[in-house]
C-alpha cells in the first residue's frame, strides 16, 4: 500500500495555519474591566504570565480544533490516495500465444522460442517484480506481480500456442494499465512472432522480442456447406465450398480431402500458386448412417510435406438440415416475378405468396423467411427478412428511404454479411434505385447505399433499394445464391460456421426454448455445461477447432452438431513480419492512474467534524465559564 497525493499543490493551503496562529498570539485586544480589586487576580495573572505563548497555544482547544480543520481540509484538497500496489518498477511480459505461435521454426516452434525469450527476460532483469500476460484470444494476466523467478518460470513453461486469433493490442493495453496503476513505473516486453499488428502507445516503454522467421503456409480461410435438393433423385446433394489461400513464396501442390466422420466423402487435388487463393467446391451425397453432421476438410501436400502451421490445414463445417424453409413472399406488384422464380427454383423452400397486408396477421411469419417487394413491414417472428424496393419517403426497418433516382455503376459490396456470402455484383447494373441511409451499406454505387443491413440479433435482414426488374441482377447466378443464403440464414446454420464459431469466441447454440441446460462435448470429449435461456445457450471462449456436439435432455433429448474453425488469414500468414504503429497524440498515454482509493471524502468529513466540535466547544465553554464561589 502506498499513499500518494493526486493534487499536492493543495497543501499550500496549510499556509493558512500561520495567520491563524498569529491571530491567536496577537489577537489579544483586551477588554478593559474595572474591578473592585485586582489583588484576587494576581495569582491568575502569574499563572498566565508563566505560560509561554507556545504553551498557551497548546492549551487552546479551539485553536487546536481550527488547526485540525485547516490541516484536514488541505489534505482533503490534495486528494491523498491509497494505492494497492507498489511503485517499484515492474516488468510486464506480454507473450503472444495466438495460433501463429504454433508454427514450426526449424527444429522448434515459435511458442518455444517465445518461452525461451521470456525466461531470458525474467532471469536477466535487474530486479523488481514481473507480471506475465498471455495474449491469447483474450489478454489474461497469468502471473504476478511477483519477484519469485521459480513461479514465473513455471508459468512461462506452461504457455502453449492457442488455436485462435491473438489479442496483442489489448494485451499491451492491459500491460499499460498495470504499469499506470503503479505510478507509471515499469516496462513492457512484448514477445511475439509479429503476425498480429498492434499499436504502440506513446509514453509506454515497450521492448519487442520478435521470435521465429517468415515461413510458407497454406490455409483454409473459409468454409461453407450448403444442401442442394436434387431434382431427379430423392437424396439431396451437399456441397462444400471453401477457399484455400496460399501464404507461400512458391507454388504448392495441394490435396483437399473431405471426410464425414471417418468416411472419405471426396477429394480434390490442385496446384496453388504463390500467394493465390483457390475456391474449392466438393459435392457429396450424405449417407443415412453418417455419425455426425460435421464434415472435415483437410489439406495435404504432395510436395514438401506439411507446412509450417497445421491448425489452419483443417476446417470443419456443419451440413445443413434438409428440412424445407417456409418463405412468405409478399409483393405489391403482381408483375414482379423474378423473385418468385428465384425462390421457387430451390426445392428446399416452401414458398407462400400473399398480399403485404396479410403479413401483419399474428404468427404468420413464425420461423419464416419473409421477402417483401414494394412494401416494408416489420414482421414479428420472422427469422430473416428481405425487402426490395421499399416505398420511398418512409422509414423502412430503421432505414431512411429517399426518392428513386437514376443509379451510377455499382462500386463495392460487402461479402461478410451472411446473405451476401460468395456473391459478386460484377457486371450488375441498376437502372433506378432509392438511396438508403441510416444503416450500414452492403452495396454501394459511389456514395449511394443501394443495399442496407437491417439485421437484428437472431434475425438477419437487408433492405434492397431497387426492384429486381430495375436491374439485370436476376440474370446473374448471384441473384439465386442471395436467396439461398437467406434460406440458410433461416435455418440458423449460416453464421455458426465461420462468423460466430471461431476459436476464441463465444459459441452460440440454438436449443428448444424450454431447454435450461446444455452440455457441449468438444473434439477431445471434454464436456462443458452452460445454462440456456430463450432458446440459446452460449459457451464462452471455445479454444479448440473441431467438431462439437451440444446435447440437452429437456424437454426432450436432443443434440446439435457444431463446427469451430480458426479461419484467420492474419494468423495463417506466417510471412508477415508484423508492424507496430504509434498511437495518435490524442491517444491514451501511460500516466499514473487513479486505480487507487481516494481518501478526501473522509478527510473532509473529519474537517467538518473539527469545525462542529469547535463551534460546540465555544458555545458550551461560554455557558460553563464559572461557578458561584461560596
Amino acid at each position: 500500500m502506498s499513499l500518494t497525493l493526486l493534487a499536492p499543490r493543495a497543501l499550500l493551503a496549510l499556509l493558512f495555519v500561520l495567520p491563524l496562529v498569529a491571530l491567536y498570539i496577537l489577537k489579544v485586544r483586551r477588554e478593559r474591566l474595572v474591578v473592585p480589586s485586582t489583588s484576587l487576580w494576581l495569582a491568575a495573572r502569574r499563572d498566565h504570565t508563566a505560560r509561554s505563548p507556545f504553551r498557551r497555544l497548546v492549551r487552546e482547544t479551539s485553536l487546536l480544533l481550527q488547526l485540525a480543520a485547516i490541516v484536514l481540509t488541505s489534505l482533503a484538497l490534495s486528494r491523498p490516495a491509497l494505492r494497492a500496489t507498489s511503485t517499484a518498477p515492474v516488468l510486464v511480459l506480454v507473450v503472444d500465444t495466438s495460433a501463429s505461435m504454433a508454427a514450426s521454426d526449424g527444429a522448434s516452434t515459435r511458442i518455444e522460442l517465445a518461452r525461451a525469450a521470456a525466461i531470458r527476460a525474467i532471469d536477466g532483469r535487474a530486479g523488481g517484480e514481473v507480471i506475465v500476460i498471455e495474449a491469447g484470444a483474450e489478454p489474461t494476466r497469468i502471473a504476478g506481480p511477483t519477484s519469485d523467478s521459480a513461479t514465473l518460470r513455471r508459468v512461462v513453461d506452461a504457455l502453449q500456442a492457442r488455436a485462435s486469433r491473438g489479442s496483442l493490442g489489448r494485451a499491451v493495453d492491459l500491460a499499460a494499465e498495470e504499469i499506470a496503476a503503479r505510478g507509471g513505473a515499469g516496462r513492457v516486453r512484448v514477445i511475439t512472432d509479429g503476425a498480429e499488428p498492434w499499436t504502440r502507445r506513446p509514453g509506454l516503454p515497450v521492448d519487442v522480442d520478435r521470435v521465429g522467421h517468415a515461413a510458407d503456409n497454406v490455409a483454409l480461410t473459409h468454409i461453407d456447406v450448403r444442401r442442394q435438393a436434387a431434382r431427379e433423385a430423392d437424396q439431396d446433394v451437399v456441397v462444400v465450398d471453401a477457399i484455400v489461400q496460399s501464404f507461400a513464396s512458391s507454388p504448392r501442390d495441394v490435396v483437399a480431402e473431405l471426410r464425414v466422420g471417418e468416411r472419405a466423402a471426396g477429394e480434390q487435388a490442385f496446384t496453388l500458386a504463390a500467394g493465390a487463393g483457390h475456391a474449392l467446391t466438393l459435392p457429396f451425397t450424405p449417407v443415412a448412417g453418417d455419425p455426425s453432421r460435421v464434415v472435415t476438410l483437410r489439406l495435404k501436400y504432395a510436395r514438401g510435406g506439411a507446412d509450417a502451421l497445421a491448425s489452419d490445414d483443417v476446417a470443419y463445417a456443419r451440413v445443413p438440415s434438409a428440412a424445407t424453409v417456409p418463405v412468405l413472399h409478399a409483393s405489391a406488384s403482381p408483375d414482379a416475378t423474378w423473385v418468385r422464380r428465384a425462390l421457387t427454383s430451390d426445392r428446399a423452400l416452401a414458398v407462400t405468396s400473399l398480399a403485404p397486408a396479410e403479413l401483419a396477421r399474428p404468427g404468420a411469419a413464425r420461423d419464416a423467411l419473409v421477402v417483401e417487394e414494394g412494401a416494408c413491414i416489420d414482421v414479428p417472428g420472422a427469422r430473416a427478412i428481405v425487402v426490395l424496393a421499399p416505398p420511398p419517403g418512409a422509414p423502412c426497418l430503421g432505414v431512411t428511404v429517399a426518392a428513386a433516382a437514376a443509379t451510377p455503376p455499382i462500386t463495392s459490396w460487402e461479402t461478410e454479411h451472411p446473405l451476401l456470402r460468395f456473391l459478386t455484383f460484377d457486371g450488375v447494373h441498376v437502372r433506378e434505385s432509392t438511396a438508403l441511409s441510416g444503416a450500414p451499406a452492403l452495396l454501394r454505387a459511389g456514395p449511394t447505399s443501394l443495399v442496407a443491413d437491417v439485421s437484428r440479433p437472431g434475425r438477419p435482414g437487408v433492405v434492397i433499394g431497387f426492384a429486381a426488374e430495375e436491374s439485370d441482377w436476376p440474370l446473374r447466378a448471384s441473384f439465386v445464391l442471395f436467396f439461398h443464403n437467406a434460406a440458410e440464414a433461416v435455418r440458423g446454420e449460416v453464421a455458426s460456421e465461420l462468423a460466430s464459431a471461431r476459436t476464441g469466441e463465444p459459441l452460440r447454440v440454438r436449443v428448444p426454448p424450454e431447454t435450461s441446460e446444455v452440455t457441449l462435448v468438444g473434439p477431445r470429449g471434454v464436456r462443458r455445461t452452460a445454462v440456456a435461456a430463450g432458446g440459446v445457450a452460449t459457451f464462452g471462449d471455445v479454444r479448440e477447432p473441431g467438431a462439437y456436439r451440444a446435447e440437452w435432455a429437456a424437454p426432450r433429448a436432443g443434440h446439435a452438431d457444431l463446427a469451430v474453425n480458426l479461419a484467420s488469414a492474419a494468423e495463417s500468414n506466417l510471412r508477415a513480419v508484423g508492424e507496430t504503429t504509434e498511437a495518435p497524440a490524442s491517444g491514451s498515454a501511460v500516466t499514473a492512474t487513479p486505480r487507487a482509493r481516494e481518501a478526501w471524502p473522509y478527510l473532509a468529513l473529519l474537517a467538518l467534524a473539527a469545525l462542529a466540535a469547535d463551534a460546540l466547544w465555544l458555545t458550551r465553554t461560554r455557558r460553563r465559564v464559572s461557578r458561584r464561589i461560596a
Partner: protein, 291 residues
C-alpha cells in the same frame, strides 16, 4: 419609608428584633447584657426618654418631680451604641451600584435594629480612613435621618479600613457594637484593628458585601482588569485555570475573615446584592460565622 428599607423588610426586621429580645430575656433582665462585669441591678444613670424607649423603664418618680420623662438605667442595661462603619471606597462602587446598595441596606437594617431597641446608632463613613462620623442617633424617630445619611453615601477613594477602625476606636468614649460593612478586599492590617477593638470591649460584627460578579465571575477571554482604587492594570485571560486561581485567592480572603471573627468573638456574615437583606440579617442577629 426609604428605598433602603421598605415596609416588608421592616416587618421582617421587627420579627427578628423581638425574637432576639425574647432570647436575651431568658437569661437577663435587660435587653442586652453587658459584656463587662458588674452588679446586674446597680443603678447607673438617668437619661432623657426618647421615642422608642421601653416605657417600663421610665423613672416615674423622677417624672413626678421634674415633669420630664427620664429613663432609669442600670449597669446591665448600659446605653449601647452601635457604630456602623460603612466602607465607601471605590471598590464598593465598582461593577455597578449594586454592591454599594447592598452595603447601605445592610447598614440600614443593623441601624434599624439598634434604634428600635432603644440603642444608639452612629454611621461612620470609611474609605482611606475615617472620612466622617455622623452624630449618634437614638430611637425610631431617628431612623429617617439615619437612612438619609446612608442613602447619601457615595463611593470614592481608596480603602484604609485599619485606620478607619482605629480612628473610630479613638473617638469612642465607651465600647459598644462595632459593625463593619465592607468588601474586606483591603490588603491592609484591618484584622489587627478589629482584634484591638474586640480587646477594648467592642462587640464586633463583620459584614462582607461582595458583588455577584465577584462570587461568580461571568467573564471569558482576554481582559485588562483595572483596580477601582489603585488604577493598577492586570492583563488576564479568563480561563478555567485563571478562575481556579481566583477562587483560591477569594477563599483565602474568606478564611482570613473567619480567623479574625474567631479571635475577636465576632459575627461574620457574607452577603451579596442578589441575596435578600433579611436572610443576611438573620445570620447577623444569630451572630453566625460564615463558612
Amino acid at each position: 419609608m426609604s428605598a433602603l428599607l421598605d415596609a416588608d423588610v421592616i416587618r421582617e426586621l421587627e420579627v427578628l428584633r423581638k425574637r432576639a429580645r425574647a432570647r436575651v430575656r431568658s437569661v437577663s433582665a435587660g435587653e442586652r447584657t453587658s459584656r463587662r462585669r458588674g452588679a446586674s441591678a446597680e443603678f447607673r444613670e438617668h437619661r432623657p426618654y426618647a421615642s422608642g424607649d421601653d416605657p417600663r423603664r421610665i423613672d416615674w418618680a423622677a417624672y413626678a418631680r421634674t415633669g420630664e420623662p427620664v429613663m432609669k438605667l442600670f449597669a446591665a442595661d448600659e446605653d449601647v451604641i452601635v457604630r456602623l462603619v460603612v466602607d465607601t471606597s471605590a471598590s464598593v462602587g465598582a461593577l455597578g451600584s449594586a454592591k454599594l446598595r447592598a452595603a447601605q441596606r445592610v447598614a440600614a437594617a443593623i441601624g434599624y435594629l439598634a434604634l428600635a431597641s432603644a440603642e444608639r446608632a452612629q454611621i461612620v463613613v470609611a474609605n482611606e480612613g475615617l472620612e466622617r462620623a455622623h452624630e449618634p442617633a437614638r430611637g425610631r424617630s431617628s431612623l429617617p435621618k439615619l437612612l438619609t445619611a446612608l442613602d447619601a453615601l457615595e463611593p470614592r477613594g481608596g480603602t484604609d479600613l485599619a485606620r478607619a477602625v482605629e480612628d473610630t476606636l479613638g473617638r469612642a468614649r465607651s465600647p459598644g457594637i462595632l459593625a463593619i460593612v465592607s468588601d474586606f478586599l483591603d490588603g491592609g492590617p484591618w484584622d489587627h484593628a478589629v482584634t484591638r477593638a474586640a480587646a477594648a470591649g467592642h462587640e464586633i460584627v463583620l459584614v462582607q458585601v461582595l458583588a455577584d460578579e465577584e462570587l461568580e465571575p461571568p467573564w471569558d477571554g482576554d481582559f485588562e482588569l483595572e483596580d477601582a482604587e489603585t488604577g493598577e492594570i492586570v492583563e488576564i485571560t479568563v480561563s478555567p485555570e485563571a478562575l481556579q486561581a481566583y477562587e483560591t485567592e477569594l477563599r483565602a480572603n474568606f478564611a482570613r475573615l473567619r480567623d479574625v471573627a474567631s479571635r475577636a468573638r465576632a459575627a461574620y456574615v457574607r452577603t451579596s446584592p442578589s441575596e435578600p437583606i433579611c436572610a443576611a440579617m438573620r445570620r447577623v442577629v444569630a451572630r453566625e460565622v460564615q463558612a
